[in-house]
């Protein structure tokens, strides 16, 4: 696949995000202990680890949903003050969820349009009136959403309520919503969980295409090891809330403590 080769030319060494010495606990439960790593611009960064290792917690820290007791999050060279998730989203961070979080009764188009909300500038009055500036703005956003639909090849389900779609397609719509937000940093929480082989291959293709076509930086949590090893540029391994290893897929794969804790034998 030659991903390393493909991405080296667009991947610069500047970190788009750094997390420094993050510790997060819920009462007596320590979810994360002293975690530090960086995310470079234009790379696909995987977060792996056994169940309960703290992967989703880490993602929630990055997206601003959890606030760690200790540690700092630096975004684009600036230390981030405690923020609400929507403020983080406004900075250009979008995410998908482990359990699909779409509006099930709404159509694919409408779900994707919600991804544009942070880019809508017209005030409530005009939006309620839906004429003039509001209409013009909606047309502009619809065009962007149509490009996402074309990109993800979901034209046929444009007007289908997402609740009626298969699981694999719902995951794709969710990715579409994150893409519609025009994020610079995309957080994907198990985008391929519960998919069959064909759906996984499609999703992998889309993730690579998003990364290559738009240069979007991607943080990926995934359980399927062959997918992680194929897709990602660098991997962080967590176990019991601690960082076990950090490096390129091959390094991580051969790291004895990672093998002990998690990988066992690599399975195809």
């Amino acid at each position: 696949m030659g991903r390393e080769m493909d991405s080296s030319n667009q991947m610069t060494q500047t970190p788009v995000m750094e997390v420094k010495n993050i510790s997060l606990s819920f009462g007596g439960v320590k979810a994360l202990t002293d975690i530090s790593f960086d995310i470079r611009e234009g790379e696909i960064r995987a977060l792996i680890g056994p169940n309960g290792a703290g992967k989703s917690s880490m993602l929630n820290v990055i997206s601003g949903f959890y606030h760690p007791q200790i540690g700092e999050v630096w975004f684009k060279g600036v230390k981030r003050p405690p923020m609400k998730p929507y403020q983080v989203a406004r900075q250009g961070v979008a995410r998908t969820f482990q359990n699909i979080a779409l509006f099930k009764g709404m159509s694919t188009i409408d779900n994707l349009m919600t991804g544009r909300i942070n880019h809508m500038k017209v005030n409530l009055f005009w939006q309620a009136l839906w004429k003039g500036p509001a209409e013009r703005e909606e047309i502009k956003h619809r065009e962007r959403v149509e490009h996402v639909i074309d990109f993800l090849e979901i034209q046929a389900i444009r007007k289908t309520p997402v609740g009626r779609l298969s699981y694999g397609l719902q995951k794709r719509v969710e990715l579409g919503r994150a893409l519609a937000a025009d994020a610079q940093l995309l957080l994907l929480d198990e985008p391929m969980a519960g998919m069959n082989l064909e759906e996984k291959e499609d999703m992998s293709r889309f993730i690579i295409d998003v990364n290559e076509e738009f240069g979007t930086t991607i943080v990926l949590i995934e359980h399927d090891m062959s997918v992680v090893m194929d897709l990602s540029d660098r991997v962080v391994v967590l176990d019991y809330g601690r960082k076990l290893a950090d490096g390129e897929p091959d390094e991580v794969r051969n790291n004895p403590s990672v093998i002990d804790a998690y990988l066992g034998v690599s399975h195809e």
């Binding site: 493909d6 149509e146 639909i149 990109f151 034209q155 046929a156 444009r158 295409d209 076509e213």
Partner: protein, 659 residues
């Protein structure tokens, strides 16, 4: 350019124009602002007028010239129905080159065979997927040097030395037009109607595909004759959704469109064809019987989920339509009361139904390629849709026979098309001669000689006869017609078609030549049967499990019994009633070589591959184990195995019905 068009060396009489590029310039001059093509993209119908399309095509032609495309060169075209790919055909023809359209789902080996055989030097590929496929076989095709692609996506990191985007080609073409303004007009004028216009590879039910060589005259004269016959005008709207490589699409979406100047609409994606068709509302439509069948199946399935009142209304008015609609469309006398009921039905049922199917504006629709079930045919005609059958093949530039308005019968394929002579040879085979008759099979003089004689008569390979009304009736492929051991005639296709008319049966293969009795393989129709399973609370995990279900066997048994009863009343064919059958554990698939790309059964391959099953059908066994290799869409292989049940069917006395 406009000025050149006016001074076109062949004048402006459209009847004198002999190639598609000349017709393009003509339409740009005469109806320049009329829409020539549309494609749905980004949720909106994007359109090109004849003038815009002319500019796009000439720019592309110039671009091709700038990378060395010259007279006689071949441009392979692979991808879905997109305007850019149709432009590629015309652009190649502008330069005196030959377009070679290919089936987009061809696997690499098939593609390699055709590219190598045709000696394709240039490729126009739709997207990354197709480019990858072409590059995979490029090493084996030394002639192939340059690839042009349409969709940019994913192409960024490729080596662009011999790879060009269509935009960069068009930019180069526009530069060339500035430097040498007369170049393209000169090239277009050099074309003769008798020159080779296109290679169309037949899907080949036997052996390797053959390259049918057609001249500009073949396509344009045939198109002109049939446009006049059906009085097609520049106001028609059509939907192009059938494979580019198929002669039908080349005539309907290219030849006739360039002659009549009508608008061709390209769907957004193959999965949105139904929605796109509803939005466009074509006036002229072509579909193989399979598509009409699918429409009817989906209507029946959806009606079964409708409320009792709606169902009642639907069935009542469909009854009215059956009685009155066909008579109305055939121009027969109908009483005023009947007319009123039909009028009411049209408001309540037929109109909305046609609208949902996108058939509201249809003036003429054709079906061809296979026999269509009489019930399906009548269903659409009773709704007031003028569906007619035609009979044709690639070697004839489609048209051999055609059903005239008012003389439409479900069991015949009509009378000879304009300018076509049709005869029945002594062997019972249908032969014809027409302006559309192909020049030759490319690099295959032997097959050309076998098929076409010195006087230009072509063997169709089909056995048939003219009935009392002067209409041609096709029985079967001549070489497939065989004999049972008791010397009675055995026409497998005829029986298979009867079986396939049942919505539960997707595909059937019947055996019996040189055997004591006839037997059948059945493929169930997953859509129809899974819907039935759902309604009857029958759980199943896979196609295979559903196919082996005892109740499914009973249902199919019932269908075959009915076919046997039908056959029993036919003096010639009563001996070929089906005695035993089995339901296959997998769908016959083009990827496994069992069907052609146009979904016709490759009998020989099926015979070889399933020899064990056929032996079992003739051995009295009640079940048989089989393991089959299957090829997945990405080219990987796997296997499916199963223990198939064989069932017996009651056979009827030949005279049962007569007595």
């Amino acid at each position: 350019m406009q000025a050149h068009t006016a001074n076109n060396s062949r004048g402006d009489n459209p009847a004198e124009l002999r190639t598609a590029p000349e017709l393009l310039l003509h339409h740009a001059a005469v109806r320049g602002d009329k829409t020539a093509m549309r494609e749905k993209e980004y949720g909106i119908w994007q359109s090109w007028t004849w003038t815009q399309m002319k500019d796009e095509i000439l720019a592309l032609a110039g671009g091709l010239a700038s990378i060395g495309f010259k007279r006689g060169d071949k441009l392979g075209i692979i991808g879905a129905n997109r305007p850019q790919l149709y432009w590629g055909m015309c652009a190649a023809q502008c330069l005196g080159g030959i377009p070679v359209p290919l089936y987009k789902d061809m696997v690499a080996e098939e593609l390699q065979y055709v590219l190598e055989h045709a000696g394709v030097q240039f490729m126009l590929a739709e997207d990354q997927e197709q480019v990858d496929k072409v590059m995979e076989v490029q090493a084996e095709c030394p002639a192939l040097t340059q690839i042009v692609y349409d969709d940019q996506r994913g192409m960024r990191d490729y080596d662009h030395t011999h790879l060009h985007s269509i935009e960069s080609m068009q930019r180069a073409g526009r530069e060339l037009a500035k430097a040498k303004p007369d170049f393209l007009q000169g090239e277009i004028d050099k074309n003769n109607g008798s020159d080779v216009g296109i290679f169309l590879y037949t899907s080949g039910t036997t052996g390797k595909p053959k390259g049918v060589v057609l001249s500009h005259d073949n396509i344009i004269v045939t198109a002109r004759n049939t446009v006049a016959y059906d009085s097609l005008s520049d106001r028609e709207e059509t939907l192009s959704y059938l494979p580019l490589a198929w002669v039908g699409d080349h005539i309907f979406s290219y030849g006739q469109a360039y002659v009549a100047g009508y608008c061709v609409n390209c769907p957004e994606d193959e999965t949105t064809v139904a929605t796109d068709m509803r939005e466009i509302g074509p006036t002229y439509y072509f579909a193989p019987p399979r598509i009409f069948e699918n429409m009817l199946t989906s209507v029946s399935i959806r009606m079964e989920d409708a409320s009792a009142f709606k169902q009642k209304m639907f069935h009542y008015f469909m009854g009215v339509a059956k009685k009155t609609g066909v008579a109305l469309i055939n121009g027969d006398d109908v009483s005023a009361a009947e007319k009123f009921k039909y009028w009411l039905g049209n408001i309540l049922i037929y109109g909305p139904l046609k609208n949902t199917l996108g058939l509201s504006k249809i003036r003429i629709a054709y079906t061809a390629g296979e026999a269509i079930g009489p019930e399906i045919f009548e269903f659409f005609r009773s709704l007031g849709i003028n569906v007619k059958q035609l009979y044709g093949q690639t070697e004839a530039s489609v048209y051999i026979t055609i059903q005239p308005d008012g003389e439409v019968y479900a069991d015949t394929v009509g009378v000879p098309a304009p300018d076509v002579e049709v005869k029945i040879a002594d062997s019972g085979e249908v032969i014809y001669r027409s302006p559309g008759v192909f020049l030759e099979y490319f690099k295959n003089a032997e097959s050309t000689r076998e098929t076409k004689n010195d006087e230009g008569w072509v063997l169709t390979g089909d056995a048939g006869y003219f009935d009392d009304r002067g209409h041609l009736k096709i029985i079967d492929r001549a070489k497939d017609v065989g004999k049972l051991n008791d010397d009675s005639m055995f026409a497998p296709k005829y029986i298979e078609n009867k079986l396939k008319f049942f919505s539960q049966i997707q595909e059937a293969v019947v055996f019996g030549d040189a055997r004591d009795y006839a037997t059948a393989f059945i493929n169930i129709d997953l859509e129809a049967i899974s819907n039935w399973a759902e309604r009857n609370n029958i759980a199943y995990a896979s196609y295979q499990e559903l196919a082996g279900h005892p109740q499914v066997y009973d249902m199919i048994l019932g269908n075959i019994e009915q076919v046997n009863r039908d056959l029993a009343s036919d003096a010639h064919l009563s001996g070929s009633q089906i005695s035993r059958f089995l339901i296959l554990h997998k769908e016959l698939d083009a990827d496994d070589g069992e069907l052609t790309r146009t979904r016709k059964v490759r009998r020989r391959i099926v015979l070889e591959k399933y020899a064990v099953l056929i032996d079992a059908l003739y051995s009295g066994k009640t079940n048989c184990f089989i393991r089959t290799e299957v090829v997945f869409e990405d080219g990987r292989k796997g296997s499916i195995e199963g223990d198939l049940k064989i069932a017996d069917v009651p056979v009827f006395d030949a005279l049962a019905k007569a007595s």
